[in-house]
Symmetry: C2
Subunit: 331 residues, 2 copies
């Protein structure tokens, strides 16, 4: 039998444990070209909120009654594909379940970094690291000497953005919530400066931390933090819109200070980034990220939950802020 976590009702806002159920289903039979993967780790992403929401998004919402959409990594235990062999490790859209039957189209890549922990394929060598790397370089276009400001600076994406920007010769400033995360930004992720948005006047702190303005703002939150950042943009600044984590509900649609005047006066650019538009660069990016991980220039934190039973509450817990590092579920 295969244990699965399915979506049983559509939440308003962030999905809670009661929106999911664990079910047991018989093993499916493999069709031509398919593989069976025994998942070793399941991923938990902030973006899952959007995948579940019945609103405009970049993919169709997860259907009620179906296995929760998720990236996972595991070993091939049965193969009817000429391209994939028994015993190989792959990462892909295998869902929140113990075993997956997958077509080639569901596979993101073969995991070849066997010297590194398998779970990294879901984090710093997966969607988080690749998002950080490609969104920063392709949309943010950082130049040596630029001030790169990162929101959720200690998070799975943000911490990689800060470190990569530093490797590219930028001055890095992180925004995080609380003294612990700020300390982590400075000591662990080597930001040049870090701001606690929960303490003091963020506008004044930003001005002090970014005396020449902000050349690249890598934004994972939107909301009040971003509102404080826009007036500090430097001429020609680039804003990477990578997430809107601070806004838990878009119905009714929230308002904020208008951005048009900032963009005009600063000749600045705001642009949305979704990793699924950039899958052609995914493997090359992982190769680069793995080199940085091996050399110790790119560090990461993981928050590892145990067993499929951890799935239902895993996303809600992420939005409660209880994880420190990339949240994955070990099976």
């Amino acid at each position: 039998m295969n244990r699965q976590c399915i979506l049983i009702s559509r939440p308003t806002g962030v999905a809670q444990a009661e929106n999911f159920a664990i079910v047991e289903t018989p093993e499916a039979v493999l069709g031509d070209g398919q593989i069976r993967v025994r998942n070793a780790f399941l991923s938990v992403e902030p973006a899952m909120r959007g995948w579940i929401a019945d609103a405009g998004n970049y993919a169709a919402p997860v259907a009620i009654g179906s296995v929760m959409r998720a990236i996972a990594v595991g070993e091939i235990i049965e193969s009817r594909s000429a391209d994939y062999a028994l015993g190989e490790y792959v990462t892909g859209w295998f869902g929140w379940q113990e075993q997956a039957v997958a077509d080639a189209s569901a596979i993101i890549r073969r995991v070849t970094e066997t010297d590194l922990p398998l779970s990294l394929s879901l984090g710093v060598l997966g969607i988080n690291g690749v998002t950080a790397h490609l969104a920063l370089t392709r949309i943010g276009e950082p130049r040596p000497g630029d001030t790169v400001l990162v929101s959720t600076a200690a998070g799975a994406v943000g911490s990689a953005v800060g470190q990569i920007a530093k490797l590219l010769g930028c001055r890095t400033v992180g925004i995080a919530g609380g003294a612990d995360k700020v300390a982590q930004c400075l000591s662990r992720f080597r930001y040049d400066a870090a701001i606690d948005y929960k303490s003091g006047d963020i506008a004044a702190t930003l001005t002090a931390a970014c005396p020449d303005g902000v050349n690249v703002y890598f934004d994972n939150v939107a909301g009040a933090i971003s509102d404080a950042v826009y007036p500090k943009l430097a001429i020609g600044a680039r804003v990477v819109v990578c997430g809107t984590a601070s806004i838990t509900n878009w119905d009714p649609w929230p308002t904020g200070p208008r951005v048009e005047r900032h963009l005009l006066v600063k000749r600045a650019r705001m642009q949305g980034f979704v990793i699924f538009d950039h899958m052609d660069r995914y493997s090359d990016s992982v190769v680069q990220l793995a080199e940085w991980v091996r050399s110790g220039q790119l560090v990461y934190d993981e928050d590892i939950l145990d067993s499929i039973d951890a799935c239902p509450d895993a996303l809600a817990g992420l939005y409660r802020g209880e994880n420190k590092g990339k949240r994955v579920i070990k099976l």
Copy 2:
């Protein structure tokens, strides 16, 4: 004696006639490298509001007591420059005055299109036409078949944007205020569709006029019109932020629906454009625009006021919407 229009007090919001005065000053003596220009036409721009405002902008504000900053076009009537000869026509930063003493740095270009009206150097062959052309092509990046939506579609910049987008193979949709301007968009500026923002439900009208979404939104207004447009952006859309004319006051800073989610879900881009960053392409652009004007593919309207005495109220009148076409002052 030289008659000048000077700024005598700083307005809040749009400058009114009482913020200016006409004065007579003696002719200045030419220094080495300088020229004396007899202005034939003075320009009146919506952007002057920003040049006057004592707020963050892309240039230092016009000082109280000084000649109003303006582009003008005229004939060289005295020259101590090796590069410019008596009798040549030039356009540049000559100010709201009858005669200007100018350094080479104030000259934008020599007017060589002597077969066309001189006043065009302030409009369709000047800052308006060049802004339309360069902002559309460099920031909007229209592709044949794209839907290009233009606000202030019948205005000096907007009407050129619509026509140029059409020449580049796009489907063009204009937004304008009132039945007259809508009719003008369709008949004169050859938009494929035109929307009256003063009549009916703009969201529904936009959906009908842009069934495949908006690939390029060329925005001169911001505010409620733009708020209705953002939800209609197509995947990969480009928003050219060229002006914020609908917002007459940024103190207190106005709010509106947040744009981040639209930019993320649509992987769209918003970017500010200020012509002064693109002066290296100015002359090449004028050459192209003049070709289109000569062939009748690019038409324009002018609103010509008479004499320096028209200056003080000229900008306020522009914001009252009393002009039809590019407003210039003939001396």
